[in-house]
Subunit: 80 residues, 4 copies
């Protein structure tokens, strides 16, 4: 091969490498973004579940108090 | 005692007896009325207790259904 | 009429009067008893209604708190 | 430059390009995986919210029925 052929091949490879490396950087940036979103989703989901669990405990308390009222009504009815 | 004395005593006794007998009738009428009211009160009271017992059963049903909803919410929260 | 006739009539009336008066006393005693029972029933009934009204107020409080929990759940669901 | 220098530079660039292209493929595979997980999370989240909304509707129904029971109790108490 002539020196010119080698030079043009080398330029082609250099350009292709630069292009591929910049694609790599773009892909890594998108990956980081998606990972942050997944992690943020996961945190929202856990916060959501914590809120729901607190609400379930409050609901349990109310159901217990309603059951006590029902029993108080039962006692009033039977004692009358 | 003279015949006049006896007659006036008899008239007094007869009048007093009539008065006492009419009081008796009035008392018996009031007694019947009170007994009817007591019986009517008793019936109302029993009807009232029956209504309350039916309501307690409905309340039990609703509390059961609320507890089922609470458990469904618990399962949704834990499965998420 | 002879004196004996008058005397026997007077004795008969006196006995009948005594019998009627003692019946009167018995009727008045029964009336007092029934009136006390009616009054006592009335007081029990009012105490019963007061208990039920207190219970209704407590029930209203619990229903309000349950509705607040439902709304809190609604907000959690819509914000998630 | 000598022909040998050009040849060794070309080989170096070719190897580096192959390495970068294979990294690219790995990154694209990971991106596809993360996108699938994000989409799947999103679908789970929507299914979860649908479940919670259905549950809220059932809860509303129960609260309405409890309020009706409370009103029935109120009417019974006031009519007694």
């Amino acid at each position: 091969e002539s020196t010119n052929d080698f030079r043009s091949q080398k330029d082609f490879l250099t350009q292709k490498l630069q292009h591929t490396e910049s694609m790599n950087q773009a892909l890594e940036a998108r990956l980081s973004d998606l990972e942050r979103r997944l992690q943020s989703n996961q945190q929202e989901r856990e916060a959501f579940r914590r809120s729901l669990r607190q609400l379930l405990e409050l609901l349990d308390g109310k159901l217990f108090e309603l059951t006590e009222l029902r029993d108080a009504l039962g006692r009033i009815v039977e004692s009358s």
